[in-house]
């Protein structure tokens, strides 16, 4: 399981970084989403990996339990990254609709770069 989780985090991060470095807004947003998935899976692993264990202590008998804190952190992170993705999609849409251009770079002279596209 360690290998699976580790490689999942690695592949998601690598794909995310590749996409973030693209020139158009849509792949960049996808890349940011992939990175946030990677970090969510990574956060789970910070409380040590464990399957089938409840996230509660049992005070009557000694059973394995998972660390509940990373689960709470992941929930927070998911909510935040969901909201942020919605915001960035809206802003990117606004940028595309107002300048008819979805490239992420700004040009030096301060004019919209969409004329030659």
């Amino acid at each position: 399981m360690e290998f699976l989780v580790a490689s999942a985090v690695g592949v998601l991060t690598a794909a995310g970084i590749y996409l973030v470095l693209r020139r158009r807004t849509f792949p960049v947003i996808l890349g940011i989403s992939l990175l946030s998935y990677a970090v969510n899976v990574f956060l789970f692993a910070t409380g040590r990996l464990m399957s089938g264990a409840p996230a509660i202590l049992n005070k009557y008998e000694e059973v394995a339990h998972a660390d509940p804190l990373p689960q709470a952190l992941v929930l927070t992170a998911i909510v935040i990254s969901f909201g942020m993705t919605a915001v960035v999609v809206m802003i990117a849409l606004g940028a595309y609709l107002s300048s008819r251009d979805d490239r992420i770079n700004l040009t030096d002279d301060g004019t919209a770069a969409g004329d030659d596209a």
Binding site: L35, A38, L73, I80, S81, V87, A92, A95, G110
Partner: protein, 525 residues
Amino acid sequence: MNHLIVAPIILPALVAPLIIMVLRYHIDLQRIFSVASVALMLAISVALGFQAADGTVQVYELGNWPAPFGIVLVLDQLSAMMIVLTTVLAMAVVLYAIGTGWDERGANFHALFQFQLMGILGAFMTGDAFNLFVFFEVLLIASYGLMIHSGGAQRFRAGVQYVAYNLLGSTLFLFALGVLYATTGTLNMADIAVRVAALPETDTALLRVGALMLLLVFAIKAAVLPLHFWLPASYSNAPLPVAALFAIMTKVGAYAILRVYTLAFGPDVPATAGLAGDWLLPAAIITLVVGAIGVLGSREIGRLIAFAAIASMGTLLISIALFTPASAAAALYYILHSTLATALMFLIADQVMERQGGAIKALPPMAQSGLLSVMFFIGAIALAGMPPLSGFIGKLLILDAARSHDLVWWIWAAVLVGSLITIIGLARAGTLLFWKSHGLPDAETDAEAAQSTVEDNATSGDDASMTTTHNNGSPLPITVCMTLAAIIAAMTIFAGPITRYTEATAQHLFAPSAYIETVLKGDTE
């Protein structure tokens, strides 16, 4: 428990939804509530400042959960100073935005403004690393809205960059927190400090990785080279009053570096000793130099101030990176100064832009040219760190604090040469904007002015066409600028008491045992 501590966070959190839901279509009521809320926050912050002034640390346990398990807010001298600074700045910006009518040029200015304040004040008060992340996100998501306030193609495009860059920063923040939690098993900053000190020295590789990743995150916020790329485009394309408020946002990064790397990964902890300073100092020196060169090379007034802000962040971070009590005291004085000076310059730049657009070139004299040129002059002196204003004292303190450091000549050279280049850059801009305009022959200038107005309309879309119509001639904006300048002058006059306060703060920062004890002992009342 002292419930006043949580009030600066609760208040904007209540006022902002009220503004969105109830007062949505009543700009006058929005203004009243917004200003009243900021005034109340200012009063609360000052009251908290007096409570913290003697060096006592107060803890507020949210939900009454004891410290390592629940989230705590901590009020000490540093956080008290920062919230007073934030609310003073917020008061100036909100009055300025109302005076110029910036707040009606798009939807929800006041609500976003309140949320932004909630995030900033929360980030300064929290004693929990994950809670710091949450407040970062609160202040960022509000800043995304403020940054694209009133729209325009160029502003939206800059906004996309700004949001994307900061989302990457947030992801990195989560990775860093995950690593720290995996190695220490806690996210409370005081508890992290205890655990880090107790960690066996052979087992600190992962911890150092986490600490450095955290430093990267704060360096993005503080716009340290080479992570500063988001700043010039976002600040110069944001509405300039908003950019004035953003002057405190880079300081949130500086504050976080100062807090985390004195408390949790302090200079006395063998596992992480020197980790932050060794990386930060060279980066800060380069930041200062590049910022100063950027000032010299800017052709647009918003970018000019943005690069001056980067240069001042460089100066500030040099002082922080030395990690001695004397340098931290100097840095704290410089934080106060550079936040207000940067904000003042952004507001003056906005006044100039309202009258003739953002380009730095000789155009016919604008309205109130004399008054604005004097204000620009005062702001430039403050920002460049020339005597007699407080920037000079701040830089002098930093130079003095660096005297015993190994790299003292590099630091002195960077600060002094950087100041010189900044002065030249600001003088060039001021000359072109205010002085050369009087020597222009009339016929040519009219044609050029007409053409430049057309250009401005083309570049910044519908926004530039509004600049003339919204200039309602209210005396409030200039009054706000003058008040900021007066505060900077007062900081120069009262430099003695202020440096005594910052020195005491720095002493407590570098002896964090009282802070850690208070947080972990919990609230006994």
